[in-house]
């Protein structure tokens, strides 16, 4: 039982408010991903849960216990630090074993766990090295292995795979998911990699400026952003937005195109994901500005109605800067947002 409940937590650094009254419940064994812009307070939130930072207000409960005043070691957590904090004076082996030694596990158990997690992280041949003799990615994996070896109730990971190459990250991601699911750990995972977020998360919490904007399943967050921010933040490249003006009941004029939309409201924003656009005879009149090959696809940044507009097109399609295109949105993928509040409309 390691449900995490965060009640009305805020954190101020001097006059700067890093977290505004956060309420969040992470169910036992849930894998919660925190997503948000740089500096939005993700690390601060993790540190408050870990007990490394005292919240300016609010309560933190873990597994039904209020833990605000408990030191980190009594909270049953392990953490992967954003800057690793791998002990420079210990070998990789001893780094990973650190928490186990604190628990006074027998040597055989320590050996077994260290070797297991090191293997998982592909650092088994580095066990004798010191952190100063590791590459950035290797150091990061030591940090992850150190946390995993603890087999804690709650694991907090702050961008744990950010310095790994795509291939390794893919592997690690799968391993992590497997290990954490088996060990019945509750996980809070900060990442900037949306693919990672999507593929790992049971739920994603999207943070913005010290607040949680949406906490929902990955598909929900991607398909049904609760706010303009979520749409603009998630998706790579992010959603396109265009101002929409009511032309008739349930009909909206968007950059010269008439699109059916919500009945209510009068100042809305039309939103569509770049991959939900196709080149067709009908659609937004667009002028290609930048063409970036991404391998399987091509990212075209175009101008639509004087606004920047991105489309992910098949790379077979030859587009050059300056070309005129017609981009047609898939009707069922269109989203609408209130232009004032930024919240989803319709």
């Amino acid at each position: 039982m390691a449900e995490i409940v965060i009640k009305n937590v805020a954190k101020r650094f001097g006059s700067f408010t890093a977290l505004h009254s956060i309420d969040l419940t992470i169910a036992d064994q849930e894998f919660m991903v925190l997503l948000g812009a740089s500096g939005c307070g993700k690390t601060t939130l993790l540190r408050i849960i870990a007990g490394l930072e005292t919240p300016s207000q609010g309560e933190v409960w873990i597994g039904g216990r209020r833990v605000d005043h408990l030191p980190p070691r009594e909270r049953g957590i392990a953490m992967v630090f954003q800057n690793y904090a791998v002990f420079p004076h210990l070998t990789v082996f001893e780094n990973i074993a650190f928490g186990l030694r604190m628990k006074k596990l027998p040597q055989a158990e320590v050996d077994a766990r260290v070797n297991r997690t090191a293997e998982l992280m592909h650092i088994e041949q580095l066990l004798r090295r010191y952190s100063g003799q590791l590459s950035g990615g290797q150091r990061q994996r030591v940090a992850v292995a150190r946390a995993l070896a603890m087999e804690p109730d709650v694991i907090l990971m702050d961008e744990p795979l950010s310095n790994l190459d795509a291939l390794l990250r893919l592997e690690m991601r799968a391993e992590l998911k497997g290990v954490l699911a088996n060990s019945k750990t509750t996980t809070i995972y900060v990442t900037h990699d949306q693919v990672e977020a999507m593929s790992l998360a049971d739920r994603i919490s999207v943070m913005n400026g010290g607040k949680i904007v949406q906490a929902a399943s990955p598909v929900e967050v991607y398909r049904n952003p609760a706010a303009r921010f979520v749409g603009s933040f998630i998706g790579n490249p992010p959603m396109n937005f265009l101002p929409a003006n009511r032309s008739a009941a349930g009909q909206w004029s968007v950059a010269g195109l008439d699109v059916p939309g919500p009945a209510a409201g009068d100042a809305l924003e039309f939103a569509i994901r770049p991959e939900d656009l196709t080149v067709a005879a009908e659609g937004f009149a667009a002028t290609a500005r930048v063409v970036e090959p991404l391998g399987a696809h091509t990212l075209v940044t175009a101008e639509v109605g004087g606004q920047m507009f991105r489309a992910v097109l098949d790379s077979d399609l030859k587009v050059s800067p300056g070309d005129e295109l017609r981009l047609s949105p898939k009707a069922d993928r269109i989203r609408w947002f209130n232009r004032e509040t930024g919240l989803a409309a319709g």
Binding site: A50, L52, F81, P88, G99
Partner: protein, 281 residues
């Protein structure tokens, strides 16, 4: 390739300086230990080694260092830890803790003599409390262990600050992220101290211990002030041979003994507190 010579370049001023102002006179003196009337002779060393006080002086000196230095280390570590932890009043307390830094051993001897003397403060206090009728003679020659204890106290009082300040400045350089990681991984305060602070403090510990042990081997003024010649120490014997007996050859032999045990202690600390290659911050 200038880069290869850079370290030597940086050592150059210190080396030249020490060659002129230390090594040159040192050699002149050290030679005396193995000469007699201008010729090579082991006589000074034999004289020293067979002198009836030599063993006692060596023994007490080493024992004193062996008792004082570890105690001092423990005290300095606790003081440094307290000072680093404090949020309020930190600079005042650091100031108080570092006061003995400014005291010469002569002054320290005087201070503690005022306490332990027969008509001193300790006796005054005990008499005031009615514990004793007659003042107790603490520093009498029969109470060599009391004298020893008094010397230990005085040395602890006088020279702990040096160790502390070195450790405090070393602790200030340990990044706090390592403490946080330690906390998260279940280390309590004591364990963090033991497993993070101490190992990361190795360079400072090494320096502090070396400097302190060397000073302990040269202890003299405090011992004389408190124990007269009852508690013979190497440095005292060196002085005695040099100035009272005017036998500079034997004095030099004594000095070489001090040098020898100092180097042995230094080598020990260099090995014991070595930071393995790659394990630096």
């Amino acid at each position: 390739m200038p880069a290869r010579f850079l370290p030597y370049l940086m050592l150059l001023p210190a080396t030249i300086f020490l060659l002129v102002f230390f090594v040159y006179p040192f050699i002149q003196i050290a030679i005396l230990a193995v000469t007699q009337d201008g010729g090579f002779s082991l006589q000074p060393i034999t004289t020293m080694a067979t002198h009836w006080k030599f063993n006692a002086a060596l023994g007490w000196t080493v024992l004193l260092a062996a008792v004082v230095v570890p105690l001092q280390l423990v005290m300095a570590l606790s003081m440094a830890t307290i000072v680093t932890k404090l949020k309020t009043g930190r600079s005042t307390i650091l100031y108080i803790f570092s006061i003995p830094l400014g005291l010469s051993d002569l002054a320290a001897g005087i201070v503690w003599l005022a306490i332990f003397e027969q008509s001193g403060f300790l006796n005054s206090m005990l008499a005031g409390l009615g514990v004793i009728e007659q003042p107790i003679l603490f520093l009498g020659y029969q109470n060599i262990w009391v004298i020893f204890l008094a010397v230990v106290l005085a040395e602890l009082w006088r020279a702990t600050a040096i160790v502390m300040v070195i450790l405090v400045s070393g602790m200030g350089l340990i990044p706090k992220e390592y403490y946080e990681a330690g906390e998260v991984f279940g280390a309590n305060g004591w364990q963090r101290f033991w497993r993070i602070t101490l190992p990361l403090l190795r360079p400072s510990l090494q320096s502090a211990l070396i400097l302190r042990t060397l000073a302990a081997f040269e202890v003299f003024a405090v011992v004389t002030a408190l124990g007269g010649t009852t508690l013979p120490v190497l440095m005292g014997e060196t002085f005695n041979w040099q100035f009272a007996m005017q036998d500079r050859n034997v004095a030099s032999a004594y000095a070489l003994v001090i040098l020898g045990i100092s180097i042995a202690a230094t080598l020990f600390f260099l090995r014991a507190l070595r930071v393995p290659k790659g394990a630096t911050i």
